[in-house]
Symmetry: D2
């Protein structure tokens, strides 16, 4: 078998003092933090699409990468070659998990039959590779947005045959995910949205999407898939408006179709910021609504209005994210998938590793800082104190429904209440967070 | 009684050829459009706060207006003087409705007792003024965000006494609204959000807000208030994040607390754009979810990131909005309230009228264009045709739950479906809209 | 010769009452407005790249168009076939001008020699086609941003050989433009910017760019090219930051290199909005600085943060733009080039025409409205009155340098000046603009 | 004399292990970094306006602060009391500098005479206080944007009397700054912009502004003021568009009026981000153009579109900023002024200290990290290597003007150049920066 990443050995932890750019500075897989290894906490995954399908092109320019697996050739042979390269990469990168779309790993073919045959063959290949390498599948998904048949959506398409085509892909991708022991199945509705309201029936498209999700959940139970079903919110791009805009929007959708206990969210940092939220906000919102599932770890660029999918590199931002995740009990089936890609000018084979190493070190250090925060947890203590009156008599009576508006107004007037404001202490708390991070 | 707007008579319709800037060019109250008068369609309201409370100040500068009603003086006397000026203005402006916050019309006082006494006195005044002028109240609301006691929210405050204080204001404001024959009661959660996640318990604050809304709805039924209860979405400002972010978010909240049939939304154009949506999107989303209530007609500035509250002046934008409203059956209790204010340098008394006249003419012309669109309704015909396959056998079987994922995949594979994309025709439809507007 | 746009005849003016979607409703080429024909005023151009090079792909999906000229084949043969299709399209669309990049019309080849040979052959073809059809070239340009050699810029590249390669392309593209009678030569620095400051020497890159522009200007004079040299500002995309951010930034650059009388700007609507400005602002800024050249007529989407390049369809926005252009004397060498493309789902051959017809009708109607505004020019009269005191004694003395800070302060103190604010009348003026548009 | 900040002693350095929230964790004034003390490097200033003039109000709510110096009373007495409080605060905060607007420290009065008398009296007070405390003035400025006379600008006002009024204020404020030993004089054109293009003569307003700046520079030389004149860029707010949009725009303006060697920029972090740039970008742009002067250290909120003026708290962001400043030789007359204010709910007297302490610790730690970066300076080495070919024969000949476009094209064709792209190494460099910060 060919070696694709020549001269690069498996990435190892060497610590902050190392000057080796191909070593981890902070990610030490077996280091125990709060009773679990870093590896178990972080559950890192690398993705197939950005690394093995994207040629380094953008809207204004051709591909810049010169990888052998991007060369033209017999499609099935190239798919196998790509799988060789991918598993070599994942192994050398020292991640326990990977993720894929159906059409990343197998050629789409010209019919559903070709599609399902190709996929079946490749699943055999992947099963063998997983055994050989010990790699596991964090999640699988189906690409129902790139082919021109999906130009007006998949489940929300005006043509029910397109719905059926997408359902077939999802059927096969769910089966494949189950067979490969995938821990989750993800749905990202890339074109489940609209380009213009002028040609769109919002109510109809929402109903279609609702039915589709119900079918997915029903099928999960039917086949006994134990992983979680995850929706990935994104506000727009490629469409003008995507129905899974953000976590709060997805929650409303799940409630409408009775799915709020069946489907969780896969939150992507860059999608959060495109939706006008901080990454921290989306994570905190999901945990507060009980629908937090998994994370696509990346970052956007605060000055750019599109999905730049850069590798995460802010410990400051991600410490708060990891704190929120730890407080919520940590990942169960979810993990940290790097839905991230190199900048187009980063054309060296080493750059693939630099990007991921930087991302992994960032999240690992954020985990360490977050664990430190949890030890003394001054934030949680402050929050508990701030809301403590809600456990007192007035608070309890209000929340237990003992007052109506009229009796509560009577109570307030009679008691001549004159509540005095207290400081929100934001700057104090921000200083505390920095002290945790930089101590 | 003093005259405050000297030299200005009641604004009349004079038509497009008029060169009188103090006349309506397109708003002709009694003109019949689709079987109803313009006045009944549009249900215009002017607001109390921007016109009679705001002195023309901004974050970087003092008030620029020199109105007599903004002078210092005995608070109750000034409140009455302001009411005189306001009703003179509303009458001369020729709007059928107005809107207010409790603290716009009556001094807050230093206690709930003073507050309720002041409000009671002013309601007497307003009742009399409504009788004299024939003006009606589109909606009332309570200001539970300006006083320093509300610096960390009202219903979502960490202190239940603040919740009780706010409840008391809403109790009185609802009673006042009912007594004045108000057609709706609005809740805008100006500080129901967070400044920083570091000190915030999202789950707790959401539960408080849920209980508050339930109390409002229960009280509405208790007193037999026939109007609608409306929540006004806004993503941020003054807080960093407001819980009623946008229509989709409000919908999820209503579903969680079983209120989706009890509360509707009051959509503001500028809030829509701050949330990353078009005004059209928010209206269409609300109608598709069955929670459309009323409109705060204004506009933002596409280059500015705050709530500029300018008067609407785009017929192109508002024609689509009015089209959506007409398609949904038009306003019931709702209407078009101008939550809009002059630019700070517009300091002449005439400017008050120019702003509103421009807004009213804009919405009236948009109504005419939308009615024209509805006559032949090429948009609706195109939409019906686009989705017609969902009324066919495959579409019906899918939506009626006759397929599960597996049987649908079988069906698709067996039938060897190969759905071909059709054009979305966006440019064609955009041209049609422009033809309607400029014919 | 093949016909590519079968069933479509040359687009004709039929007026607002026409229901033919393949006719102009307002663009009447020979209609005289303010002494010139519409055709002469508007100087419409269609572009080669969006129409004949772009396959309907986006970052998340493959091409959706099935045009014969996008099929694989011998490169030179396909280039000729594409030219046939293009000139058929331009002719049927009834535009007087077109625009191209060197690599749109001729294959790049694998060396500069191949490149220049291919281009030379195609220029022969284009010369003949221009003669046959009467079409003219509004401007030519060189694509020095798509090939991977340009991944870190062209003139601003860290490698001077890349500078030399780009210079060679521009040399050939300028020669070609001159030979084809092009009225302008455009430079859009797609990757003249940075991806990260961490690897960038801003001073060095700016100096390189300055030298490049000087060479272009020197060469223009050397060959006696009579057209204008134009820089097209854009803030970002594909790079994180582009040096030609906006008109004001370009002005500073031109001043630094002594080029402010040699180079003008080609303003694109969507680039203006991406830079945080209104389209109107960029046009007005360029005319006020004396560097207005030409226009890429399109529009962005106020909710999306990337270059959507949609066809212009707002008469409201473009009336102010055309008003500004007319006030500045109208186009000289410049014109209105549609740097606009179909939405990806608009896959029918008719959609190409609908997009352009809509854009042309929009700009034509905007021209008519703007001409109407100029007739009585209430805006200009208001502006003249507003600033008239600057023609008075105090204003004159200040501007002629008769005061220094100290003597002016003396004058102010002695005269006890107490200037009173006057209304900015914004709402009044906005109403006037709407009256002009909708009368 | 009263003590206003009771119970708070002068803030001291206690190091990262300290749990005292009223101590510096990293700012150790006398610690030597690269040969200079932290105090000399950072030149911290606290500002008068946010701390002693702003009552904690926002657009939607009243002041929340209950400070004695905000109470009503005799204006001159309150001004003196405020000065007492301010100097106590500055001293306890342990900053070497402060900054003010004329109208922050002295009542405006009702005429220029009253204004100049009030200011003169207060300058006496301040001179004494500076002597007593050792505090120094980083810069002074004049507020020519808050009073209603300035509603349409100061120097760019349509009324030359307003220009004269502003000139008089600047005359006095410059004199005061000189007398107090101020190290810079700042001009922030809060309303030097437009609200609407409909009433604006851009060319005229720019010319007025140009003349004003020339007068300021001439007067500086006349009185022998040794400090720098600084313009503070901001894109908008309060106006829709401000002429000093960003550093690149200011540079073009300075070039036009021959002032590029006379005026520098005072860059504010939050203004940078509102203009669509990173803070780092604005600093790097200013140093590359030779116009870097001083810094208003604060931060915005990536989700909010207005000037939130929060205290800086990102070491990650500010390390790059400090690196850029150190590379450019460090501050000369400039410094780090906290143009930052508390969140409105931070109402305790301690919060004033927490905000500033956090900001100072952030910038001090950023300085330490930046100094570490400079020691081995892997970034600079990488940049030098990246551009080294520009010091080779081809690069030199191009930059020295030895080629024109034609001879360079000949050279390229003849040499058959085929430049190969090299990696931009962005991810590698980002990892290096994080290694410096977190080692």
């Amino acid at each position: 078998m060919n070696e694709y990443f020549k001269g690069i050995s498996k990435i190892q932890f060497e610590g902050m003092e190392s000057e080796n750019p191909l070593a981890f500075k902070t990610y030490n897989p077996d280091k125990i933090i709060l009773g679990k290894s870093m590896k178990e906490h972080l559950r890192f995954a690398a993705c197939y699409w950005h690394n093995f399908r994207w040629p380094g092109s953008d809207v204004f320019g051709e591909g810049t990468f010169a990888h052998s697996w991007l060369k033209p050739g017999n499609e099935m042979e190239m798919a196998k070659l790509k799988a060789d390269a991918a598993f070599e990469f994942f192994t050398k990168l020292n991640v326990p998990f990977y993720c894929f779309h159906d059409t990343d790993i197998a050629p789409e073919g010209n019919s559903l039959k070709e599609y399902s045959n190709n996929l079946a063959q490749m699943i055999d290949v992947f099963e063998r590779k997983q055994e050989e390498t010990g790699l596991k599948l964090l999640w699988g998904t189906a690409n129902v947005f790139s082919h021109r048949r999906y130009l007006s959506g998949a489940a929300s398409n005006p043509n029910p045959e397109v719905f059926a085509y997408a359902a077939t892909q999802v059927f096969h991708a769910m089966n494949a995910t189950k067979r490969l022991g995938g821990e989750n199945y993800v749905l990202w509705g890339g074109r489940e949205g609209y380009e213009t309201l002028l040609n769109t029936d919002l109510r109809q498209e929402r109903a279609q999407l609702g039915r589709f999700m119900q079918m997915v959940v029903e099928y999960k139970h039917k086949i006994g898939f134990r992983g979680a079903i995850l929706i990935e919110p994104k506000p727009q791009e490629p469409t003008k408006h995507q129905y899974d805009y953000d976590t709060a929007t997805v929650y409303g959708f799940l409630k409408q179709y009775g799915l709020e206990n069946e489907i969780k969210v896969n939150i992507e940092a860059n999608h959060a910021t495109l939706a006008g939220h901080s990454f921290h906000h989306e994570i905190a919102t999901a945990t507060s609504l009980g629908i937090f599932g998994s994370v696509d770890a990346n970052r956007g660029d605060a000055q750019l209005g599109w999905d730049t999918d850069q590798f995460p590199n802010s410990i400051e931002e991600n410490t708060l994210v990891m704190y929120e995740i730890l407080k919520a009990g940590g990942f169960t089936t979810g993990g940290l998938n790097f839905d991230a890609r190199l900048r187009r000018p980063s054309i060296d084979i080493e750059d693939f590793f630099y990007g991921h190493i930087g991302g992994m070190d960032t999240m690992a250090l954020a985990l360490e800082k977050a664990a430190l925060m949890l030890e003394t947890d001054m934030l949680a203590k402050n929050v508990a104190k701030r809301y403590e009156a809600w456990s007192g008599p007035l608070g309890n009576r209000i929340m237990q429904g003992e007052f109506n508006l009229s009796t509560l107004a009577d109570h307030a007037m009679t008691s001549e209440i004159d509540p005095q404001p207290v400081s929100g202490k934001q700057e104090y708390l921000e200083n505390i967070v920095n002290n945790y991070i930089y101590k």
